[in-house]
């Protein structure tokens, strides 16, 4: 007979209560895990950013363009390894609810800076030759059932009109942190069309993407670029890709904070539930703990029994919750792919789940254990019978 066996047997003395507590912990850990995954998904773009990539945009706002002519000037700046450019297109596919990121760019230089985007060679060659060609992420193509060669029409919002593209390539991410829901096409196609229509964005870009030689010189290079265009008609603001992504997230920071708070509230609630269960359990067994003490068992044995039971029940619920988080996250990710292109349960989330469960188990056992340890044996024995 071992103490572990006793902990196990004790845990199932009130089967319904134990089952409901485990269920509560499972649901709480599942909810906690999903909310933490939402937060991770929110920052997925930031996490995927490279330290060697800078983004230069109009200092006033991203909605104002920069002249394409800046490209060569930027290239000549010390520390710059490569320059590319892109323009947000913001087209709608059939209906507004079908939102996905779509933009134009110069594919050779742009994708050279994104080794994490993988396009099969044959598709890549076709895409490069085809002015009206476009590339879409695997998840996006699957979402709409697109196949190579399909003509995809986007309704322009910033650049009015119906724009037809031929899907020449479907890219995959090098790993699951890469967004596979984007759509991009040739900047030249956008520019030439705008030129024909005599529109104001001709020979202008939304941003420059810059590759630098060393991440340590990011701040210096950024300053050099912005200094170069100081007092020009279109002053620039250069920042790391991470800061650029963060600037979008900062607009929705309050939502992220709210989600984080709710996730911790859930843990607090389940802590109260488990603490209630353990308090009831310990109160019912005060007499038994007195018997253990009478027989010579020490305070740490009694605390071990209570903490062990709390740990067992909580961790059982937590393991179930963690196991359920993966299929639930996959389902969520599929349903919400237009909002969260990357919706993966991160290792950090699982670690947080485990830490939360351990904290819940420990805190829930604290008061009952303290009470059981400090009760006088004679008083405890009076509760028996």
């Amino acid at each position: 007979m071992h103490i572990l066996k006793l902990i196990f047997k004790n845990s199932f003395r009130h089967k319904l209560r134990t089952f409901l507590t485990i269920l509560g912990v499972t649901v709480a850990i599942l909810a906690f895990g999903l909310l933490r995954t939402v937060v991770s998904a929110w920052y997925a773009g930031v996490e995927a950013s490279s330290a060697t990539r800078l983004v230069t945009r109009n200092a006033v706002s991203l909605v104002f363009p920069l002249p394409l002519s800046y490209k060569e000037k930027i290239r000549q700046i010390e520390g710059v390894k490569g320059v590319s450019y892109g323009t947000w297109f913001g087209g709608i596919y059939i209906d507004e609810k079908n939102f996905f990121a779509n933009y134009s760019m110069e594919p050779r230089t742009y994708l050279a800076m994104y080794p994490e985007i993988i396009i099969p060679d044959d598709q890549w060659n076709v895409f490069l030759r085809d002015r009206k060609g476009a590339a879409a992420g695997k998840k996006l193509a699957e979402r709409f059932g697109w196949k190579i060669g399909d003509v995809i029409t986007l309704k322009g919002t910033i650049f009015p009109g119906n724009w037809d593209f031929v899907l020449d390539a479907i890219y995959k991410g090098r790993d699951d942190t890469v967004d596979e829901t984007a759509f991009f096409f040739h900047w030249d196609y956008l520019n030439e069309t705008l030129k024909k229509a005599g529109r104001s964005w001709t020979d202008k870009v939304g941003w420059f993407l810059i590759e630098i030689e060393d991440p340590d010189i990011a701040a210096e290079v950024s300053l050099r670029i912005d200094k170069n265009f100081k007092n020009s008609l279109a002053e620039t603001l250069t920042e790391t890709e991470k800061a650029f992504q963060l600037s979008f997230i900062s607009m929705t920071e309050a939502i992220v904070i709210a989600i984080r708070l709710v996730s911790f509230v859930i843990i607090f609630i389940i802590m109260a539930v488990v603490a209630n269960t353990m308090a009831m359990t310990a109160r019912e067994r005060i007499g038994e703990y007195a018997i253990f003490k009478t027989l010579g068992f020490r305070s740490f044995h009694i605390a071990g029994l209570i903490l062990g039971e709390s740990l067992f029940v909580t961790m059982l619920g937590a393991v179930l919750g963690i196991l359920l988080t993966f299929p639930a996250a996959a389902l969520f990710g599929k349903e919400l792919s237009q909002y969260f292109p990357i919706f993966n349960v991160e290792r950090e989330t699982i670690v947080l789940d485990i830490i939360a469960a351990l904290v819940v188990a420990f805190v829930a056992a604290l008061f009952p254990a303290w009470r059981a340890i400090h009760i006088r044996i004679a008083d405890g024995l009076r509760r028996v019978g």
Partner: protein, 233 residues
């Protein structure tokens, strides 16, 4: 005939409980010697301090004043952790309501005190089986307390009490929850423990029949101890 050594030596023992602002004296200046191998019955009306005296001797309560020496150890001077270790090695407990752990089998209940010793699993098994044989329950070792009668449960409790071969056995109303036949079985068993194994037993009881099995009966009244010699031992 040689006089047996004194195993329990109590001097000037006092205990007071506080109820609100009122101090209630429970035991007053108790002096008591118990010889090794003696079977002592403590009787007295409710609230006379019998169980308190038993608890103090067993080291599960603290005296306000006085000395308790058991087997040469002054237990009033022991710290809580030392007292727990001393109890584990020197005291066997028999309670009115058996106080078995319901989720453990008879075997596992008897094994409990041995978990605190350094015995191997095999040695523990031997000890437990021996103890259960002494109480005639070797064939019920895999039964849970709920599957045993009251008398059988009390015999399991006795096996648990003797399994560590303690210096003294303390029994608080051991027959108080049993029918006449079961009570007789338990009392006979306790007599056997004294006569055959030389155990020292201190028993609190309200039952004169149980008390008459003892070598000596002591009466407590309002915390004061009076001798009540047992005839013909």
């Amino acid at each position: 005939m040689n006089k047996k050594p004194i195993i329990v030596e109590i001097r000037n023992l006092c205990k007071t409980y506080q109820r609100g602002s009122q101090l209630i004296p429970v035991l007053q200046d108790i002096d008591l010697d118990i010889d090794e191998g003696e079977f002592l019955a403590l009787m007295g009306p409710s609230g006379s301090g019998k169980t308190t005296l038993l608890n103090l001797v067993a080291g599960i309560d603290k005296a306000d004043y006085g000395s308790i020496r058991i087997g040469g150890v002054e237990i009033t001077a022991l710290a809580e952790t030392e007292l727990a270790a001393w109890r584990a090695n020197n005291v066997g407990f028999i309670f009115q309501f058996y106080n078995l752990i319901p989720v453990l089998t008879a075997f596992e209940n008897v094994e409990l005190p041995l978990l605190l010793t350094g015995l191997s699993k095999g040695e523990r098994r031997t000890h437990v089986e021996t103890a259960l044989r002494v109480v005639n329950l070797a064939d019920r070792m895999d039964h849970y307390p709920g599957e045993l009668s009251g008398g059988q449960q009390q015999r399991v409790a006795i096996a648990r009490a003797v399994v560590t071969d303690p210096t003294i056995l303390v029994a608080d109303e051991p027959t108080g929850d049993l029918d006449r036949d079961s009570a007789n079985d338990v009392l006979e068993l306790m007599e056997r423990l004294v006569h055959e194994l030389g155990k020292t037993i201190i028993m609190v009881t309200h039952d004169p029949r149980a008390a008459h099995k003892a070598h000596q009966i002591k009466h407590l009244d309002k915390g004061v101890l009076n001798a009540h010699p047992q005839a013909d031992f």
